[in-house]
Structure formats: structure tokens, C-alpha cells
């Protein structure tokens, strides 16, 4: 069964490694640059979308985990929070995404978008927990707000992932 899965995965179109790297760097750069010109885009976490897409299509929790750690640490390095905060959260997100991808039909857009919304809300809760418990900060958190933003991320992922699917190539 395992060998059959591996054969199936080999047949799936994949995103080139260089494109994955470009996706991560591009998501980070856009997240840093665009909010300066369009403040409302501050609400979107493009790195999360990039991570979920890459981790799902790699179909490996190890690859998802290391991808999450890398993008999370890079995101931390560009903010004033301690390095490792987003790193831990995105490591877990990447791991769980890679693990779930072995059981879920990832080419179904609804499933991917739902996962993005779920992981956004989970990330916000985890971030609030870490900032409150670990760092001792007083940070306000609104669950309804997180749910609304999670839904917006899911909608954005629907279109963004469809665009990224066009870049995938069959090995």
C-alpha cells in the first residue's frame, strides 16, 4: 500500500523546488511591502497560505515541518517579537498539513480552503497563548474576528491555490 502511495505521489504534478522557495520569499516580501501602501492587507498572512499549499502538496509531514520552521523563523526575524514564536507555530502547522495531506484529497479546492481557514484560527489562538503565557504580554484576542479573518483567508486561498496549480508540473 505504501509503495502504491509513493507511486501515486510520483505521478502527481508538483511545484518545482525553486518555485517553492520563490513562493516563500515572495510571500514574505509582499507581506512586508504591501501593507505600507495598502494598510488593510496587514490582516492577511500570506506566509501561512504559502506554507499550507507547499506542505499539502509535498504530502510529507517532515517536509511540511521544516518548511514551516524556515518560513516561521524568517517571519520572526522581520518583526520585533522573539525569534521562534511564529517558528514554533508554523512548524506545527506544516507538520499537521503534511500529515493530513496523506488522508485528504488535496486537489479539491474546498478542502484546501477549509484547512487554510482552520489553520489561520489555530495560529491566532496559538500566537495569543504563547504571547500571553510565554512572554507575559497583555494581548487582546477576538475569536469572532479571528473566525471572520479565517474565512477571508479561505476565500483568498481558493483563488491563490488555483493560480499556483497552474505552475505545478508533472514529473
Amino acid at each position: 500500500m505504501a509503495s502504491y502511495d509513493i507511486l501515486l505521489r510520483r505521478e502527481e504534478p508538483q511545484l518545482p523546488r525553486l518555485a517553492e522557495l520563490g513562493l516563500f520569499v515572495g510571500a514574505l516580501a509582499i507581506q512586508v511591502l504591501v501593507p505600507y501602501y495598502i494598510p488593510v492587507t496587514r490582516l492577511f498572512d500570506l506566509t501561512l497560505l504559502a506554507l499550507v499549499y507547499v506542505a499539502l502538496h509535498r504530502r510529507s509531514e517532515m517536509a511540511g515541518m521544516f518548511s514551516g520552521a524556515a518560513i516561521g523563523l524568517a517571519q520572526d526575524a522581520l518583526s520585533h517579537d522573539p525569534v521562534g514564536l511564529f517558528g514554533m507555530i508554523k512548524t506545527i502547522v506544516g507538520f499537521v498539513c503534511g500529515w493530513i495531506s496523506q488522508f485528504v484529497e488535496i486537489d479539491f479546492p474546498g478542502a484546501r480552503s477549509t484547512l487554510v481557514g482552520f489553520f489561520y484560527v489555530t495560529q491566532q489562538i496559538a500566537l495569543w497563548t504563547l504571547q500571553t503565557v510565554l512572554l507575559g504580554k497583555h494581548v487582546e484576542f477576538s475569536l469572532p474576528g479571528a473566525l471572520v479573518l479565517g474565512a477571508l483567508h479561505a476565500v483568498l486561498a481558493w483563488f491563490l491555490f488555483a493560480l499556483l496549480d497552474r505552475v505545478r508540473i508533472r514529473p
Partner: protein, 363 residues
């Protein structure tokens, strides 16, 4: 054991990775030292891209404005209309330039009015953390900018330098939940602390419940935090709500924090170290002469007494000198010699003739 490790290697790796990052976070939280090298590299690489993109966008925009648009205008119009369009275009460019230089000139003029030394910087990007209120500027340690310096505009204060890199710096805005500013109310000089909430308004804390605060009151920096010089405008009170024994005071900042183009970083002034040069010593004060007593009424200041023999000049006597002279006079009257065994002590109640007391310093 090996089977266990192989079977759960992904979970073990996950745990190791999380533990390493947790230790990393804990290490950073416990220490408040210099900026990490990882951040320097990351910020250097990203800000280089940002600066490049910024320059490229400016160049493309300039090329479009100056050539392409002008070429289109030449194609559309042949004579006077073409000239008119070109002039309109130039006028538009000049207006844009004037507006930009106006902002910079306004900042420069404002710069002359403040006592602190400052560096003019442009905003080139925002942070990667969606929840934080911070942005990057295009000047860093090479321009003399360091962590903790105040960032202001002509309208009011903006924030402080959170991290400084060679060619960029991260500015933490005053509306970030981690930011706090020592302030005072302009009307009654009552001091307090303004904290960021992450929203469009800030909160004014540590103002007594009995202090009179009204909507519209101006809030200035107090200088107590040694980050912002005293007297810089911070914002205006926008809301005052009494909540039992507490009070919620909301503040609307003067500076447009969401739309900043150029800012000033205060590199000198109140943050300078305390002066090490000692201040001038206080002048010596010569006290007046000892009060005169009846035994020396005939003595100075009107008629300075002379030493016996007339060789000396008047030297003021202290009360102790006078008392000693009285005791010596009493002892002379009674033929007593102090310090001699079995001689007893003179009778101090017998008194003495005032004329016997010699006025003047002892030999």
C-alpha cells in the same frame, strides 16, 4: 529502542525542533542585549530588496512621468496643444515635487525648532507581523541611529527605534500594544502614561480619578521616559469614561501613524548620557565675627583691640577663647594654677573685675 525511534522519527524531530525554538525564545526573552545576527542578516537581505524595489518603482514612475507620458502627448498634439499638455504635465510634476519637498522642508524647519539632533529618514516598509504596529526606515546605525531613539514628525511623536541595523531600522509605533510614553496634560501638567492598544486610539493611564480631564485636552510628552524630549505633542483626549473607581481615557494621536512618508529620528538630546564634568563648586561663605559679649564691648568692630604691647592687630576671638580668658582671669585673681596637683579648683562664684580680662588673642 531503534524501532521506536524509526517509527516515531517524525514526531521526535517535531519535538526537537519545537524544543529548540522554545529555548531560542526563552533565551531572547531573558536577555536584553544586542541585536541577534540572524535578524541582522534577515533584515539586511529583505531591506536590500525593499530598497531596490523602492528605487526601481521610483525610477519606473519617473521614467513614465517624464518620457512615456510626454511621448504620448507629442503623438496626440502637434503644436500648441502639445506644448500646453507638456506644460500641464510639467506643472503636475512640479506640484508633486513641491508637495514632496514641502513635506521635507516642513520637517527640516521643524528640525530647526527642536533642540535635539536628528536624522531625516524615509519609510520603506512595514513589519512581517500582522498584529504589530511597526515599520522600517531607510537609515540605520551608519547614520548614527540606535535602539531606543525617538521617532517624530512635525505633527507629533511617532514611536521609537526598536532595532537598528546598518542601513535600516525597525520603528515601534506608539499605538503598538507594547509601546508606552510618559506624558503630561497641557492644561494642568498632571503626568501619566500613554499606552498603545493596537487600535486607532491610545489609552492614557495613571491619571488620578479626581484630576479634571476633558475631551479635547492636549497631551504632551513629559520627558520622564528619557526617550522623548519634554513638550512634544502626542495627541488629544478623545474620550473620557468613568468606570466606578477607575477611569478610561482614550487618546487620538496627532501624527498620522498609518500614513507616514518621512520621519525624524532624534539622535541626540535627552538621551545623551548624564554630564560627567563636575559643576562649579559653591562659593565659600565667610561668616560674620563672633557675637560680642559684655567682656569685649570696648573691642571691635569700632575700636580694634591691640595685642598687649601694641604690636599685633585685632584678631577676632571665639566664644571658647573668651570663656578660656575668663577662667584664666579668675585663676589669676585667686592665685590658682590649673593642672597642679592638690591645688584644688578656683571659686568661680567669686567673680572678677571685668577690667582684669585681657581682650585679644592669646600668645
Amino acid at each position: 529502542m531503534l524501532d521506536f525511534v524509526i517509527r516515531f522519527r517524525s514526531f521526535l524531530l517535531l519535538g526537537t525542533l519545537l524544543l529548540a525554538q522554545l529555548l531560542l525564545v526563552a533565551y531572547q526573552v531573558q536577555t536584553d542585549g544586542e541585536t541577534r545576527l540572524l535578524r541582522v542578516w534577515a533584515v539586511w537581505s529583505v531591506t536590500s530588496v525593499e530598497r531596490g524595489l523602492h528605487g526601481a518603482l521610483s525610477g519606473v514612475g519617473g521614467a513614465w512621468d517624464q518620457y512615456v507620458w510626454l511621448w504620448d502627448a507629442r503623438q496626440e498634439n502637434e503644436s500648441l496643444r502639445r506644448e500646453r499638455d507638456r506644460l500641464q504635465l510639467e506643472n503636475q510634476q512640479l506640484q508633486n515635487a513641491v508637495a514632496r519637498y514641502g513635506r521635507e522642508e516642513e520637517l527640516q524647519q521643524f528640525r530647526q525648532t527642536i533642540e535635539s539632533q536628528s536624522v531625516l529618514a524615509q519609510v520603506i516598509g512595514s513589519s512581517s507581523n500582522p498584529a504589530s504596529r511597526e515599520f522600517y526606515i531607510n537609515q540605520g546605525t551608519e547614520a548614527g541611529i540606535h535602539r531606543g531613539m525617538a521617532v517624530i514628525v512635525a505633527d507629533g511623536i511617532v514611536g521609537r527605534i526598536y532595532a537598528a541595523y546598518p542601513n535600516a531600522a525597525l520603528v515601534l509605533r506608539i499605538d503598538d500594544p507594547e509601546a508606552a510614553v510618559g506624558v503630561l496634560l497641557a492644561t494642568n501638567r498632571v503626568r501619566g502614561v500613554v499606552r498603545g492598544t493596537g487600535g486607532s486610539e491610545q489609552r492614557l493611564d495613571y491619571v488620578g480619578i479626581n484630576v479634571e480631564v476633558g475631551v479635547g485636552d492636549t497631551v504632551l510628552t513629559s520627558g520622564d521616559d528619557r526617550v522623548y524630549p519634554q513638550g512634544l505633542p502626542v495627541g488629544r483626549v478623545s474620550q473620557v469614561r468613568n468606570l466606578g473607581r477607575e477611569r478610561y481615557i482614550a487618546l487620538e494621536p496627532f501624527a498620522r501613524l498609518n500614513r507616514l512618508d518621512e520621519v525624524l529620528v532624534l539622535t541626540g538630546g535627552p538621551r545623551e548620557p548624564l554630564p560627567v564634568t563636575p559643576v562649579d563648586e559653591a562659593p565659600y561663605i565667610l561668616m560674620p565675627n563672633p557675637a560680642e559679649n559684655p567682656l569685649t564691648e570696648a573691642t571691635p568692630p569700632e575700636t580694634p583691640a591691640m595685642r598687649p604691647g601694641g604690636l599685633g592687630t585685632y584678631v577676632p576671638m571665639t566664644d571658647a577663647d573668651r570663656l578660656r580668658r575668663i577662667y584664666e582671669t579668675i585663676a589669676d585673681d585667686q592665685d590658682h594654677e590649673y593642672g597642679v596637683t592638690r591645688s584644688g579648683s578656683p571659686d568661680f562664684n567669686r567673680g572678677f573685675a571685668e577690667a582684669d580680662v585681657e581682650v585679644g588673642p592669646d600668645d
